[in-house]
């Protein structure tokens, strides 16, 4: 059952990624060169709609959050490494498999590299566990907890930022 739900969710997700044209190398690298904001429009819209939905359901007691721990050093170093590789590959993990399906054959090399990268990380993980991964560890915290304010003002601020960004991007034709 778990797998069937995952498959259906993935099919819809892949369909939407493809229709939004965010799977393309040109869109991803186009954003990194600050010439095409398609992937940010897509992602920011998804995040704003998602946070409204998630926090509505959460405040009604329908769902639980599943927040990843904030490990500052690991996120800063790992995040920068991710960005470096992402720029060279032109795909992130989720978009690489979708890009392959729409005919971008060269995504297969990125996917193979990702598998090797995952294997390499598994080998090095024991050495990171008590070093990088433990530096600046704050546990599973959210912005409302960090700032000491309720969630909704933050969501409103996020949405306002998003709308402002969209207006700017459309005006600039990006």
């Amino acid at each position: 059952m778990e797998q069937i739900i995952g498959l259906i969710t993935g099919i819809i997700f892949g369909f939407l990624l493809q229709k939004g044209e965010v799977l393309r190398f040109e869109r991803q690298v186009g954003f990194m060169l600050l010439k095409d904001m398609t992937i940010i429009k897509f992602m920011l819209t998804a995040v704003i709609v998602g946070m409204i939905g998630i926090y509505t359901c959460h405040s009604l007691g329908l769902i639980a959050l599943s927040v990843k721990a904030t490990q500052v050093a690991a996120i800063v170093i790992g995040g920068l490494l991710f960005g470096i590789g992402w720029a060279i590959a032109g795909y992130c993990p989720g978009t690489s498999v979708g890009a392959l399906a729409e005919g971008r054959i060269h995504a297969i090399w990125a996917i193979l590299g990702m598998l090797v990268g995952a294997a390499a990380y598994a080998e090095i993980y024991p050495y990171l566990e008590n070093s990088v991964l433990s530096w600046g560890s704050y546990g599973k915290i959210t912005l409302p907890q960090l700032l000491g304010v309720p969630a909704w003002p933050i969501i409103v601020a996020f949405a306002a930022f998003g709308v402002g960004f969209f207006v700017w991007a459309e005006k600039k034709g990006l």
């Binding site: 797998q3 739900i5 995952g6 099919i11 819809i12 997700f13 892949g14 369909f15 493809q18 229709k19 939004g20 040109e26 186009g30 990194m32 060169l33 600050l34 010439k35 095409d36 897509f42 992602m43 819209t45 998804a46 704003i48 998602g50 998630i54 359901c57 769902i63 599943s66 990843k68 904030t70 790992g78 995040g79 490494l81 991710f82 960005g83 590789g85 720029a87 060279i88 795909y91 992130c92 993990p93 989720g94 498999v97 979708g98 399906a101 729409e102 005919g103 060269h106 090399w109 990125a110 590299g113 990702m114 598998l115 990268g117 990380y121 598994a122 993980y125 599973k140 912005l143 933050i154």
Partner: protein, 184 residues
Amino acid sequence: MNISFFASRWSPYIAGAFVGVLAVLSVLVTTVILDKPKYIGASTTFVRAVGFVEQVVSSEHVAENAYFMSKKIKVDWQMLFVVGIFAGSLISSRMGKTAKIEMVPPIWRERFGPSIVVRGVGAFIGGIILMFGARMAGGCPSGHGMSGNMQLAVSGLLALGFFLLGAIITARIVYGSGGRSWNK
């Protein structure tokens, strides 16, 4: 506003909004049916996939590795989710007639030439670095960028910021200004 399944493209705002709704529905449905919320993510699947490959060579090595142990090598919700992305993109690109065989993308070709091998080596090395980074950071633009930020996670915002920073600086160095081929 064309949202026909046969349209070549949808507005990124429309497609993105549907993804937001999908993410929330996914959490609701999995909470009800599986009794545990499933938030969208992709990169852990690469750990499990390579774990399966390594098991063929040496199952002991995988069983003894602390990282594989913590992630559990199994065919789970997320692995089928990633398989689904492939299928969904296949369906959409065929219905919209936007599938295109591409061995070397234009921006890359302008900088590094038409060689399939050079592009292959570049994509492979990029893939290694990005996945190593994603696993160290604890997620990728799906898990941290989307799911993390939807939950207002501090980790999600921090990770997304550094993903974008690393990518923007690197792209500038690797592709220069990107020439004229960036569109399409």
